[in-house]
Symmetry: C3
Subunit: 398 residues, 3 copies
Amino acid sequence: MSYNLERAIAELDQIKADLFRKDFLLTWQKNDNELMSVFKIAEILKELHHRNITCKAFQTGIAVSNFRDNSTRTRFSFASACNLLGLNVQDLDEGKSQIAHGETVRETANMISFLTEVVGIRDDMFIGKGHTYMKEVASALNDGFKNGVLNQRPAVINLQCDLDHPTQTMADMLYIKNYFGGYSKLKGKKIAMTWAYSPSYGKPLSVPQGVIALMTRFGMKVALAYPKGYDLLPETIEIAKKHAKCSGGSFSVSNSMQDAFKDADVVYPKSWAPYHIMETRTQLVEKLDKKGLTELEKEALNENAKHKDWTCDETIMNTTARGSAEYLHCLPADISGVSCKEGEVSAKVFEKYRIGTYKEAGYKPFVIAAMILACSFKKPAAVLNNLLRKNEQRVSFK
Amino acid sequence: MSYNLERAIAELDQIKADLFRKDFLLTWQKNDNELMSVFKIAEILKELHHRNITCKAFQTGIAVSNFRDNSTRTRFSFASACNLLGLNVQDLDEGKSQIAHGETVRETANMISFLTEVVGIRDDMFIGKGHTYMKEVASALNDGFKNGVLNQRPAVINLQCDLDHPTQTMADMLYIKNYFGGYSKLKGKKIAMTWAYSPSYGKPLSVPQGVIALMTRFGMKVALAYPKGYDLLPETIEIAKKHAKCSGGSFSVSNSMQDAFKDADVVYPKSWAPYHIMETRTQLVEKLDKKGLTELEKEALNENAKHKDWTCDETIMNTTARGSAEYLHCLPADISGVSCKEGEVSAKVFEKYRIGTYKEAGYKPFVIAAMILACSFKKPAAVLNNLLRKNEQRVSFK
Amino acid sequence: MSYNLERAIAELDQIKADLFRKDFLLTWQKNDNELMSVFKIAEILKELHHRNITCKAFQTGIAVSNFRDNSTRTRFSFASACNLLGLNVQDLDEGKSQIAHGETVRETANMISFLTEVVGIRDDMFIGKGHTYMKEVASALNDGFKNGVLNQRPAVINLQCDLDHPTQTMADMLYIKNYFGGYSKLKGKKIAMTWAYSPSYGKPLSVPQGVIALMTRFGMKVALAYPKGYDLLPETIEIAKKHAKCSGGSFSVSNSMQDAFKDADVVYPKSWAPYHIMETRTQLVEKLDKKGLTELEKEALNENAKHKDWTCDETIMNTTARGSAEYLHCLPADISGVSCKEGEVSAKVFEKYRIGTYKEAGYKPFVIAAMILACSFKKPAAVLNNLLRKNEQRVSFK
């Protein structure tokens, strides 16, 4: 690799971004400079790690890992990112089913933050709750910092909420940017973000919502497709439309996987639950209505089963640009005949793109680390430059 | 803040304290110099953190976190303290309901300590057990160190037992000391440590016991009050009496919240379970008598409910000195109309003092770190002086 | 201690061993030089720790702790080893009963390894599964490293599988080597590896298998004894025979504890489950046959109960060499009248050797750290020499 670190840091230094002492919750709350700044930091950190240069911007400090939902991959990505920067992860486990609010959130946020530099939160299962909870935590930390309770303002990082999954979609973006050879190469490229059949139920909406909101900013032609009824949250559709208009790209919604895949340069076939189902689910969970939840699941799975033809196999891949669109997935994919009988993608297609999806995921720890760095330091370029000049071996004599 | 670090370290250096290779289990086992030494170290560490100076007295080392009871706040305080000093926390989870003893304790204590510098234990639910368990662990570590099994003698730190909660009460003390402007200003000040109504049951006795034992050492007038039957452990009452006599303060026990609050400079209204109930509970747990436990809980809650008038509202706060006593709580408080229907404190009173209680809690990580430092190093002042002179930025370029 | 660190490192430098970017799964896959290299590194690290010299070969990096089985001691040993070297442990908990395979293993291994330097796995409960699983993980990491998914190839360390328990047996070996005063002193010494009665069921076979496979390499006379039916895996018996032949030692199998103990210099009495029972158990677990499992347990315990006379008491100890063979155990032992009514060893015998068994266990963290170092660095001697020359105090001013 001939990545020029000095030049990359100099370029970063030229980007005017206002991320210091802010949070990273939704990509569409950040302007282009701010996103570019995070992308650039992520690539610099990835290269520093590759070159075995220590990236400890912190000598000590706590990183709170608050997963209100099971997760192995994102949990490890967050832990890896924090470790890379010198922070120590502590898990906050308030009980997975509990939806805390009000005084409890306000108080707990401060009680765990006396020596904390970042709070990573995953709360994606309840429509209307996840993002709201993150804002509550952020507001409690503002209150504590303003009132002298905290020496520092920890950044809140969204590790997936009901609206967006910024660490995933920004990793996806870095992957395809480098795949095509630069942001300018993305202009006019078609990406199909489509629903795909899965035998499981209740998959969150944040990935497709995040993808259409982000990819439309780069002049891409974003084709969203799903079976009737599998709508995304209306506000995210509006954002995608607006972004497409601004960037000179396009955004279309259809109920045809075929139309979306046709001539696509990138495809992202992935299951999700219809948003009205997720809303009903949230209400039933709040009422602790177990019977209702069982019925809802049954109903939803029956509905899913009507759309088994929404699958990414060789036939549909052949209709993409040059028959070889790049395939994206946030993993784990439901692979037909491998992880399930019938699923999102055929074994043959998945195997062809498997290593690619691993590399796509490989950007995630660095995107998370970049968000932490960008939110924690006034001049990230100076911090990175300092690390580069110190040139301390991360692993001795490797 | 114009805290003079050099002077504070010089003062610390003058205090003769014998804490090295000892444990910190009960404040009343430590003499005044020893407490003063821990207080001073805690304040120095807090200031070093505030000034972004690295406090890593350890380059590597394990800190065992042994919580035999659920806890978020103290667990984070301990983890934060350890991280500040450069130690890495490992959780020891032997099963929460299990009361280990004998060979198991002796062996496990050594098996987890080969590279361990500190063992933090919380075991507060069983009268007659928590402190005993900590002593067993300490004795096993002495045995291992003496016999060459361990290269170092890890300090045992009491993170709350059945008798005392030293990290909490010492944080409380630092808060009011600074609130009133020095230890000498505490002389003659009245503090009301009173029971208060809570709809939950089985709250430990260690906070009120620890408070009366500690505050009486500073010449304060300590007024303990609780409804008939809600006695504390008799030995802690005797300690408070003795301390009050020595320090020129006073210690009174009554069954009137009104009497205790009248003209008080500080109030600490907080629920606890009567000690005879806690004793019965311990016996029932040992016999695995579920039915007995359910009945005991019902009986105890019924008894609690007779004392709903023991609550800290504006009316009773108006009877304190200048109508504005300082309010303490170890958090979380049971706030009427917020976290419960009727509880320990009214929402209005709590909101007035909320930020204060957060700051009170903010001393805890530094008190814990101070205990670790005091027990681990022969000359803590030299260690701190070295950190100050090295002046390594904890967070780069912040 | 007058351990000569400079000389030890120079000696290490002379040993030709090919461990870099390999895994440490089974001692019998390693040649004598490779074992000697790990032993030497372990002793050097133990001495560096004793001398309070920092051993951070890594500035940052993740160590995955994958325990598919409950464990306190080995878990702490691994965590301590990683911390000593500067790595941060993250637990991977895929559900204890689940036997993952195929795509899930391949993908997860990569997803958790983007910034990972070592993966420690314990998977000892299922015959034919544990070692297989570790090989699957190792092969997935090869695939990821080769394809550029991972910047580094994390080493897989066996923390106990169905075949071997190398970190335990190598700790045992270091203990007796130092007890007798050198590897050469082990030649001709008799070690009795015998079954012993325990009231519990399902103890893994990896310790006795690992012991007979390792100790036979040092010219020892290894006497394996167990009641009829308690066979070990045949392949491990073959390995022990081969090793004994090569080293000029001997290997015998009998059904008499008396014969094995007679004139033994070292005894290792320890319970295990017959391998055919463990095989049946694995099949029942896979079929989720709870009733079958309950019946199997009952049957196995009944069988165990016929052999209560297989216990290590003073009478049998008196028949060993000079009546005072050295006693080994991987801990915790089932001690008659202490941890159970009747067990592997009498209280009197255990108490006599208790501190010895603690010291035996004390080698384990350093053996694990040595394996990590040996697998992670091309020239471990250079890394250790560098640490020694830097001479950074691990604990300030201690």
